[in-house]
């Protein structure tokens, strides 16, 4: 077992890779009553073309399979539903699917051990029938319809479509009503058997646990066998260039929404350092204290600070600046000018130091709540990152490095603008 300690947040991570291939991470929180467990697999909506272990043929699955599978995992062969069973135990159970992973979780203040039995059992034992797969299509269709009416989701999806030509990140995580109609129990089993191998999974627990004890307990409940061989994900050739510069659609919203993106190249080395630096740069560009935000706020173009994100995983990386504005083109114009200005004169040192302090505070406050901590460690793990690295590499981010990145990443030919206007 590996023990990694972070002196800044005064927390410890116990990391163990079991012989059967499963990785377990424990972050003990002795003072809390709430216990949180999350079990994820490195399988998300972008993984739609692959060669299963010990096979040779390429499999291509309909859009939305990872998410559909997540919905169906709760169904049990004895006719019960694990979500109901866990809820009956007084624990909060849930699951979610992202672009690059799927996760099952529960949070308990009581009955943790009983819930753990059910939890470990259902994730390892899928039960799909023609009937239960068919029934789910109506429910997921309503989930898709709900997102269709959400302008913020539409503006986000269009931004991805503007940036990515081939990479399946440009399709909706849930798929479409049409694509899910093609999903059968055979498709689900194929996806499950490929991606839910222990080697491809990680489990994180956070709460009042003794690391050795909880790891032993989890180990004793693993019934799945180790699978030999690797999953081969079929890598899609994605050009460095964007697809198109701009897309504007109309929906019933009172104030337009925008997402401004910069397509970037995923870097294998120094990704954490780059992420930290980009967060600082983004905040210096259009964060609350920035010149640009002050100007746009004063003239009524912005009423709140846009959200600033750097998203990356297998095969992709991009920046997104998203928010609401009466005049999104004004934001785009201001941003371009500000980037140009910083490129010419360099980032201001005083601002850099102050914003860096702010980012430090943001990282420390991530360690407040057990659920947040566990989800963060899991998501970062699938990106090849140990979450503590953000606190450790923080000091290595220099003004010089930030200036270099600014010139590399913020280029107009990689910039896209997605807008939803009112009708």
């Amino acid at each position: 077992m590996q023990i990694i300690e972070n002196s800044k947040v005064k927390e410890k991570l116990y990391l163990e890779k079991l012989d059967n291939g499963l990785t377990i991470m424990v972050i003990p929180k002795p003072n809390t009553l709430k216990k949180y467990i999350i079990w994820g697999t490195n399988f998300g909506s972008i993984d739609n073309k692959f060669i299963p272990q010990e096979e040779n043929e390429i499999v291509e699955v309909p859009d939305g399979v990872a998410h559909f599978l997540e919905h169906k995992m709760f169904e049990q062969s004895n006719g019960t539903n694990s979500l109901d069973t866990l809820t009956s135990l007084g624990v909060e159970a849930n699951a979610y699917t992202t672009v690059d992973h799927t996760a099952y979780l529960f949070e308990a203040t009581q009955n943790f051990d009983e819930a753990l039995d059910e939890f470990m059992n259902y994730v390892q034992n899928p039960y799909f029938t023609d009937e239960n797969v068919e029934k789910e299509k109506g429910i997921i269709a309503q989930e898709i319809n709900m997102y269709d009416d959400e302008a913020s989701w539409q503006v986000y999806m269009n931004a991805l479509k503007l940036m990515y030509k081939n990479l399946p990140i440009n399709i909706d995580i849930a798929g479409s009503v049409e694509s899910i109609s093609k999903i059968t129990k055979e498709v689900l089993y194929k996806a499950y058997n490929t991606f839910y191998s222990l080697e491809n999974m990680a489990l994180v627990v956070c709460g009042d646990f003794k690391p050795e004890e909880i790891i032993e307990k989890i180990k004793s409940k693993i019934t799945k066998q180790k699978v030999n061989g690797q999953i081969k994900r079929i890598e899609v050739e994605e050009p460095e260039n964007i697809v198109e510069k701009e897309k504007i659609i109309q929906m019933p919203v009172s104030i337009p929404m925008f997402a401004i993106g910069f397509k970037d190249k995923l870097e294998k080395e120094e990704i954490v350092k780059k992420h930290i630096a980009l967060e600082i740069i983004l905040y210096m560009l259009i964060g609350k204290s920035s010149e640009l935000y002050q100007q746009l706020y004063k003239n009524g173009t912005l009423i709140s600070q846009p959200e600033l994100d750097y998203e990356f995983s297998r095969g992709y990386a991009h920046i997104l600046i998203s928010g609401q504005s009466k005049n999104p083109q004004e934001v785009v114009k201001g941003l371009k000018t500000q980037i140009q200005k910083y490129k010419e004169c360099g980032l201001n040192e005083q601002d850099f130091i102050r914003v860096k302090k702010k980012i430090y505070g943001d990282y420390v406050s991530e360690y407040n709540e057990v659920g947040n901590i566990a989800r963060m460690f899991l998501a970062d793990y699938f990106k090849g990152i140990n979450s503590f690295e953000y606190l450790e590499q923080y000091n290595q981010v220099t003004l010089e490095y930030a200036n270099k990145l600014l010139n590399q990443v913020f280029n107009e030919d990689k910039m896209i603008v997605s807008i939803v206007e009112g009708k």
Binding site: K8, V9, K10, K29, N31, T32, L33, K34, N81, L83, D84, T87, S88, G90, V91, E92, A108, T109, Q110, K135, E136, K137, G138, I139, I140, Q142, E143, N145, M146, D148, D149, E150, A151, P252, V253, S254, I255, G287, K288, S289, Q294, Y297, K298, G300, I303, Q324, K326, R354, V355, K357, I359, Y360, G361, D362, V364, S365, Y367, N368, E369, V370
Partner: protein, 421 residues
């Protein structure tokens, strides 16, 4: 976790929540006043103007920089309805001194900064700075107009407005454009002064090693200037209803793929002690994944992705919410009504009751692990005639039995059916 309430002056209280498990200290300041049509818009505007500038930090930029220097202290303000009261809520979260890279006393700085923003605004010629008021009026107008952007929330708001027509609780928390247009900076400043002079003020400090907080607050110059006050606010806001009221049905058109159905339910002749029963009733009806609504509308009929209900304790109402295909309106409504009938007939098991209790108790037990929920819980106690600690709350939930639930079910009636399509 340790909770202590100290009234430092009549009408002004400091609430200390001493807790070990967070990296942050969370400060909150609440100003409470009864909901009134002529004042709600002003109350929504005031926090927005306050965060624009203080006498020491005159611009938003200066305030933002000050907060960033404090390792990114996050400042948030907003406005909420709590029963028939309007509450201005202001939060400041900072890193706890133990987790700073260098030794500093951030707690004092945080408290002083929060109080400076609320109690020491930038004033010019005995009024708020005109530019700030005009700019924030325009922002608030955008927010009011943006009400329909979140469809599910909008449908709920509209249902509440119908249920509480011409009553304080039917007011939109951000007010109205009509009222907004009448506001000027002089009048707004006068109203602000009146609030600060007369209203109930609660200051919460949650975090580790906060034993000094009360002294820091008491010695703060801005606090010293405040006078004791007879706090005027509404403790019990439960809705009064008759059994023979007609059901109101409202449909509204908007270009949507998915329709939003909301049912507002009344509890006729509801009593304070029945609130725990209502909580369990709601959990069985639509509060969990095991509930009747989730099971029957979603799992069995596949009509919805979201299907459930929530209990609004302050007003003693239950709201049922579903997102459905527009053509399935009648079908969904039929299933919902059947579930209400099964509740009346006592068609649920002891296990269902136990499960519901278990979920509710778990929520209470988790409060000490969530910094903001702790503050919300104790602030909520201010609107009840007695202080109920966690343990007592759990006892009362445990005492609820089937007979109570069936009795309550038979006092529940649909007030309004609202459908956004």
């Amino acid at each position: 976790m340790n909770y202590k309430k100290i009234e430092i002056k009549e009408g002004i209280s400091v609430h200390e929540i001493e807790t070990e498990q967070f990296k942050t200290n969370l400060l909150a300041l609440f100003i409470t006043v009864p909901l009134k049509k002529e004042n709600v818009t002003k109350e929504a505007l005031i926090p927005a103007v306050l965060r624009r500038g203080t006498s020491k930090h005159k611009t938003l930029e200066e305030i933002s920089k000050k907060l960033e220097e404090m390792y990114g202290a996050s400042f948030n303000c907003g406005i909420e309805k709590t029963g028939d009261n309007h509450v201005i809520k202001v939060y400041l979260e900072t890193i706890n001194d133990a987790f700073l890279p260098e030794k500093e006393n951030l707690l004092k700085d945080a408290i002083d900064t929060l109080l400076e923003i609320i109690l020491e605004p930038l004033v010019e010629n005995n009024e708020f700075k005109k530019e700030y008021v005009e700019s924030e009026k325009s922002n608030l107008k955008t927010i009011i107009e943006g009400k329909k952007d979140n469809k599910a929330q909008y449908a709920l708001e509209k249902c509440i407005e119908e249920m509480y027509k011409d009553e304080p609780y039917g007011l939109y928390k951000y007010g109205s454009i009509e009222e907004l247009e009448k506001i000027n900076s002089k009048e707004l400043y006068e109203y602000y002064q009146e609030l600060i002079k007369k209203c109930k003020i609660d200051i919460f400090v949650s975090g580790k090693d906060i034993e000094n907080a009360k002294n820091i607050i008491q010695e703060n110059e801005n606090i010293k200037k405040l006078q004791p006050r007879k706090k005027d606010y509404i403790i019990d806001s439960s809705k009064k209803t008759n059994m023979d009221e007609q059901i109101k049905t409202i449909e509204e058109n908007m270009e949507l793929t998915q329709g939003k159905l909301v049912l507002g339910l009344d509890i006729v002749d509801g009593k304070e002690e029945e609130k725990y029963t209502a909580l369990i009733y709601n959990a069985i009806l639509g509060g969990t994944a095991n509930s009747k609504l989730f099971q029957n509308v979603r799992e069995k009929a596949s009509l919805a992705y979201t299907a459930g209900s929530s209990y609004l304790r302050q007003k003693n109402n239950i709201f049922i919410k579903c997102g459905i295909e527009i053509k399935n309106y009648e079908k969904a409504l039929q299933i919902i009504k059947e579930q209400l009938e099964t509740m009346k007939n006592g068609d649920f098991s002891e296990d269902d009751i136990q499960n519901a209790k278990s979920i509710m108790i778990s929520t209470i037990k988790a409060i000490p692990d969530e910094q903001d929920t702790g503050i919300t819980y104790y602030f909520g106690q201010e609107f009840s005639h007695e202080m109920v600690e966690f343990e007592e709350y759990i006892n009362r939930v445990n005492k609820v039995n089937k007979e109570d639930i069936v009795k309550l079910a038979n006092k529940i009636k649909i007030n309004t059916i609202y459908f956004l399509k």
